[in-house]
Symmetry: C2
Subunit: 188 residues, 2 copies
Amino acid sequence: MALEHAILVSLAERTASGYDLTRRFDKSIGYFWRASHQQIYKVLGRMEADGLVSSKAVPQQGRPDKKIYAITEDGRATLLAWSREPTSMEPLRSAFAVKVRGLPYGDRDAVLADVRRRREQHLATLAFYREDEAHTFGDPAALDSAQTAQYAVLRGGILLEEAGLAWCEEILALLSDPSARPDGSATP
Amino acid sequence: MALEHAILVSLAERTASGYDLTRRFDKSIGYFWRASHQQIYKVLGRMEADGLVSSKAVPQQGRPDKKIYAITEDGRATLLAWSREPTSMEPLRSAFAVKVRGLPYGDRDAVLADVRRRREQHLATLAFYREDEAHTFGDPAALDSAQTAQYAVLRGGILLEEAGLAWCEEILALLSDPSARPDGSATP
DNA sequence: TATTACATGTAACGCGTTACATGATTCG
DNA sequence: CGAATCATGTAACGCGTTACATGTAATA
């Protein structure tokens, strides 16, 4: 049900077409919640039927019509009611964790290569987030309430990436058996 | 597709009934991958049809028959091949992040209460993991390869919980506006 | 007496991914 | 000439949750 709420938050900020929402979900909100255009169109259709959003067709030249969606009063009320429900703690659900756990039944070198690849990925994402942090939220004390909320979410992304990075490094330290190295310099 | 692989890893360690697997998914592997018994039975049925596992019915007294599943050669080969594929970086998909992002459109006090509740949850889970760490993996240098893999996964859980905890604390620091406190002791 | 453990499933429904489908405009 | 951008969808399929269904035995 959370894609619905993510869309409501996005439309509460400003109106958008399905296409616009798709692009928004490629950044900002989408750093932490992905959704394809197919899914967004499907959910928008249901949300309009439920009265949470309304749409207005906007004819265009040489392009298909745009359908601009806006949040309704019902939509805002739904968002407020949702904010009062406690969120459940979603478990990891990580295929990577399963692979690490199953290391004795897999290809050790291939899995370690995957760990290194993921480490680089975390580093790249972190660099990206940190630039956003410095650029957009340079002075946290000067932010208004909407910006503070955005910044809090970005901080979550940074902390998660840092944890993922640290995990990769611990795995490499634990599993890169020194006695298996060519130089044979095993720890005592 | 990862539940399939989680089951294969579990059965590679030792045979089990669907019921046994359900309980295993409540701890160990299941600290990081949840699955209900309904889902496990469904997937086991398909996996048997695909030849990844085989089953043997074991009659019991005063209880329904047990179906003991074992991994097949095909299943082991599938697991090995899977270990060679790189894992994709799954995005957060966190309803909590959406809620924090949408704070200006929600009930501020209710959301902050939820943050505090989650903080306590992270603390409780961390305490649980840390006891497991001290109890089962007290001396990391003395672990065999299977135990080392298990320990690496537990470390991931600990790092993630620590990140979640730190996030909650940052959110509270960012959003608990001092000027809104009854004593009015705002920071300069 | 009620709940927990043991043991296996079916059915309905929503969420999410991948593939398919169409068609104009603009940039390299 | 091909790729990207703009713009909207359908169809098929797998994953995951919730509710429903059945029945015994031990424990509190």
